[in-house]
């Protein structure tokens, strides 16, 4: 198989405009003859469904939540990047492109990233027109703040709830199309398989989560906007229901899965407090604009602090190590996420961590409160401080926050070409579900940008190019391919229900999560990864022998829902480990302990690994086949990333 990324010819800055001119068009009157399925209604899905409906296509949209507005994009806090240069501080499309490529440690496609930077400016215009209440200055114009990995202020925000406001904008556009009858919405419906006819994606099989009914839906194209797979780790900042099932089952039907080991561990989350913990809560990166990260300078001081022999205030200023400011004076507390996370792990591994477990560092606002006053800080981060206080029962205005890295985002995902189409004709992947724009590390405030770029401004053009070549005739859901897929889904559910073992789905999920965190988390090595691979296989065998799923298929069955998702995580986890093991270099969020500089920074191997690793499924328990897409850098020079 040869991976064709279909990157248009010509200079970087002209590729997208040329491509938009060259793609085939579907005449307005003919658009209504095509049906498109969109799975997922977060930023990428809702924006795509709404825009395709506006263009005239008939859209069916699916989400597992009870309303499309609850997709996990809603929880994004900090902001959305755009190269508007409203602050007159030197931003430009090229700078946003450059920062994103560099932030991703040179493992993303230049052409995709440049297009992302280009359309970023349109996103802000679109959202404002929809009534998204971004933060504003007193003069009435839009406000910005800075985020990690950038030295300009290009992040637009709505207090600490930017994702919520952007999603509600997309949700309102979606609602308008639902009201017009151009989008048919299926909430509480989960995709369980992809249906292919003559090698093309022609529909999906879903389960109605209320009645348990297994149904088929046919279309001319299928868009997966189903988010990331961070919940492989059990504990993450993802929502409880976030899962990889739609993407994974498409992978099992032939879609390649790219760079699965590129996962983002976010540096500022509330630390784990007990075994019962069900999820981790992020404290937005925007807090690093004003919060200073530190730990005690010596192990001895940290020990005394953990034992409660001294209080935080007993630690003199000169005994505090503001390690990010010390090591990276140019970016300080605003280094990219992978760098901040790794350094937090380093100081905790040295024994200088704080909190009961020693697995936390301080994020301290004392200086900012002294400088700007508490009301100013509250205006910027009020809801985050409240959330922190609710969860920890501590007041962050008085005591520094305790934070620790947690799984947050997955850069890997389904392999797509420049048109966001997977290697299966007619199957698209957008937003976090694809692999394309963030390389080995995503910069803060870029996930919202990518989700909306894909949905509002990329897929509406590129999908037309494909549909224009498709006959209008629909495939009936009575087609054998649909029946076969339905039967397979039903059989799998019956199998899960018939095991009647002794261990719960959550027990397996937690065991998998722990393996992934310990061996395929912030730091990895060959030995640990090999061990994890064997353990995951064992765990998967045990799951299929001993899992306990009660109830029946034909009802609202929360255990069966989870069992399907965890069954897929148990396969995906192994692929992540395979990918991490094969990539004998460190880059971005993928830190192999064997490959580091003397200063403990990630050591890339551009000679041998400047490629996208796209994996082909060959059966559960079989070794996947690696396909490589070489990354060509014509506009940026590959250098050792430095934030010093």
């Amino acid at each position: 198989m040869i991976l064709d990324s279909k990157i248009p010819e010509g200079p970087l800055a002209e590729k997208w405009d040329k491509h938009k001119f060259n793609v085939k068009l579907v005449n307005p009157a003919n658009k209504r003859k095509y049906e498109v399925i969109v799975v997922g209604t977060g930023l990428a899905g809702a924006s795509a469904a709404a825009t395709l409906g506006e263009l005239g296509y008939n859209v069916k949209a699916f989400c597992f939540q009870d309303s499309p507005r609850r997709a996990h994009s809603i929880a994004a806090q900090g902001g959305i990047n755009a190269a508007k240069n409203y602050q007159n501080d030197g931003d430009s499309v090229f700078r946003l492109f450059y920062d994103t490529i560099k932030g991703g440690d040179y493992r993303a496609r230049e052409a995709n990233v440049y297009r992302l930077a280009q359309v970023s400016v349109d996103i802000i215009d679109q959202c404002v027109a929809q009534g998204v209440p971004f933060a504003r200055e007193y003069g009435g114009l839009l406000a910005n703040r800075s985020f990690g990995g950038a030295q300009v202020s290009r992040t637009f925000y709505a207090r600490g709830q930017t994702g919520q406001q952007l999603l509600l904008g997309a949700y309102s556009a979606l609602n308008r199309q639902i009201a017009y009858g151009k989008v048919k919405m299926y909430p509480r419906t989960e995709m369980l398989d992809l249906v292919m006819v003559d090698g093309k994606a022609r529909g999906i099989v879903v389960r109605n989560l209320i009645t348990g009914k297994i149904e088929s839906h046919s279309a001319h194209a299928v868009v997966l906007a189903t988010g990331g797979y961070g919940n492989v780790f059990f504990l993450s900042t993802n929502a409880m229901g976030s899962n990889a099932t739609a993407a994974w089952r498409a992978h099992k039907k032939g879609a390649l899965f790219a760079n699965p080991c590129f996962t983002q561990i976010h540096p500022t989350c509330i630390p784990v407090s007990g075994e019962y913990q069900s999820k981790l809560t992020l404290m937005s990166e925007s807090l690093r604009n004003d919060g200073r990260v530190w730990v005690p300078k010596t192990v001895e001081l940290a020990q005394r602090l953990r034992r409660g022999e001294i209080a935080i205030n007993d630690i003199a200023e000169e005994d505090r190590d503001y390690y990010l400011e010390r090591k990276y004076p140019a970016f300080g507390n605003l280094v990219p996420r992978d760098v901040a996370s790794r350094n937090a792990k380093l100081v905790c591994d040295e024994g200088r961590g704080v909190g009961g477990s020693g697995l936390a560092v301080y994020l301290d606002f004392a200086d900012a409160i002294k400088r700007d006053g508490q009301p100013a800080i509250a205006a910027k981060y009020g809801n985050l401080f409240e959330m922190y206080a609710k969860i920890t029962d501590e007041n962050p205005y008085e005591k520094p926050m305790r934070i620790y890295p947690a799984v947050h985002y997955t850069m890997g995902g389904l392999w797509v070409d420049y048109n966001l189409m997977t290697n299966i004709p007619g199957l698209y992947a957008t937003g976090e579900c694809n692999f394309s724009d963030h390389g080995a590390n995503r910069l803060g405030a870029s996930a919202l940008m990518q989700g909306l770029a894909d949905g509002y401004f990329v897929i509406p053009y590129t999908i037309g190019d494909y549909l224009a070549q498709m006959p209008y005739a629909k495939v009936s859901t009575d087609h054998p391919a649909f029946k076969e897929a339905e039967e397979a889904v039903i059989a799998k559910n019956q199998q899960l229900l018939s095991i009647k073992g002794t261990r719960t789905v959550d027990e397996f999920h937690k065991a998998l999560g722990l393996l992934m965190w310990d061996y395929c988390g912030m730091a990895r090595n060959a030995e640990g990864l090999q061990f994890a691979k064997q353990e995951i296989r064992k765990l998967r065998d045990e799951f299929w022998r001993d899992v306990k799923v009660t109830g029946v298929n034909e009802e609202l069955n929360i255990t069966l829902e989870k069992a399907n998702r965890v069954a897929d995580f148990l396969e995906l986890g192994e692929l992540m480990v395979d990918d991490a093991l094969h990539r004998n270099e460190s880059c971005g969020g993928h830190f192999r302990e064997e490959y580091q500089t003397p200063e403990n920074e990630a050591l890339r191997d551009d000679e041998n690994f400047a490629y996208v690793a796209a994996w082909e499924f060959t059966g559960v328990g079989n070794e996947p086949v690696l396909h490589k897409e070489d990354l060509k850098f014509e506009n940026v020079k590959l250098t050792q990333r430095s934030y010093k």
Partner: protein
């Protein structure tokens, strides 16, 4: 009503984690777990609900059930949990209710009619910071339905008013303000939600602090729409 004993609960657990513990226990005993809605567990998605000891989202003000922690209860307490109760929210199973009526109210006009593309530059229309902030406050509604559950009339007016006033305050939203308020209100009534009698239980129980001022604004918008003739019936 069924009473379940739950053991091993730590004060730092969230309310939903307590239910997780109970469900794991039920599963191991071969019983079916209790179905309840939840997703982000950060207080923002609006998926969780639960009427706890007679209060929507439990005893803490300004808190969703997922952000409620067990430190607010005492060891040995018996906690009563009910689903949202309203004619417009039929129960699916256990504690899971159908809130799609709220989506249909949004579909009746909770948007600004702009297509993707072809919009002016974001800074073309300056919006006073005070107005932008107020619109933002209204826009933070999470559509959880607590206002309906708390209201003796099962009215969804606080939810509805939050969307109407967010868009009515912004220059972009003024264009369609009149048809919007009429259409959304008509849908609200058609769904079987009750009328508003200005008790204020909704705002008192709202986990994100949506203000009762929005209902005043809604009424003003509605009267002003009714006073002109070009709108819907």
């Amino acid at each position: 009503m069924v009473t379940y004993p739950v053991k091993g609960i730590s004060p730092d657990m969230s309310f939903l984690e307590m239910l997780d513990v109970l469900n794991e226990d039920l599963l191991l005993r071969g019983d079916e777990p209790i179905a309840f809605d939840h997703d982000c567990r950060e207080g923002i998605c609006g998926m969780c609900s639960l009427y706890i000891n007679g209060r929507a989202h439990g005893p803490e003000r300004g808190t969703t059930t997922c952000q409620l922690h067990m430190r607010h209860f005492k060891d040995g307490d018996t906690i009563t949990i009910e689903p949202w109760r309203a004619a417009a929210f039929p129960v699916h199973r256990d504690l899971v209710v159908d809130r799609s009526a709220m989506d249909r109210i949004q579909q009746a006009g909770g948007y600004i009619s702009v297509n993707t593309g072809g919009v002016p530059d974001a800074n073309t229309i300056p919006i006073p910071k005070t107005i932008a902030d107020k619109a933002f406050d209204a826009a933070t509604c999470i559509q959880c339905g607590a206002c309906v559950a708390a209201c003796k009339n099962a009215s969804a007016m606080l939810f509805l008013s939050a969307k109407v006033s967010q868009l009515a305050m912004l220059p972009q939203g003024k264009v369609e303000a009149k048809t919007r308020v009429e259409n959304m209100l008509a849908q609200h009534d058609a769904e079987g939600f009750g009328a508003c009698s200005n008790i204020g239980a909704c705002a008192a129980e709202c986990p994100v602090g949506i203000s009762l001022d929005n209902i005043a604004m809604l009424n003003r918008e509605y009267i002003s729409a009714k006073a002109t003739s070009e709108n819907v019936a």
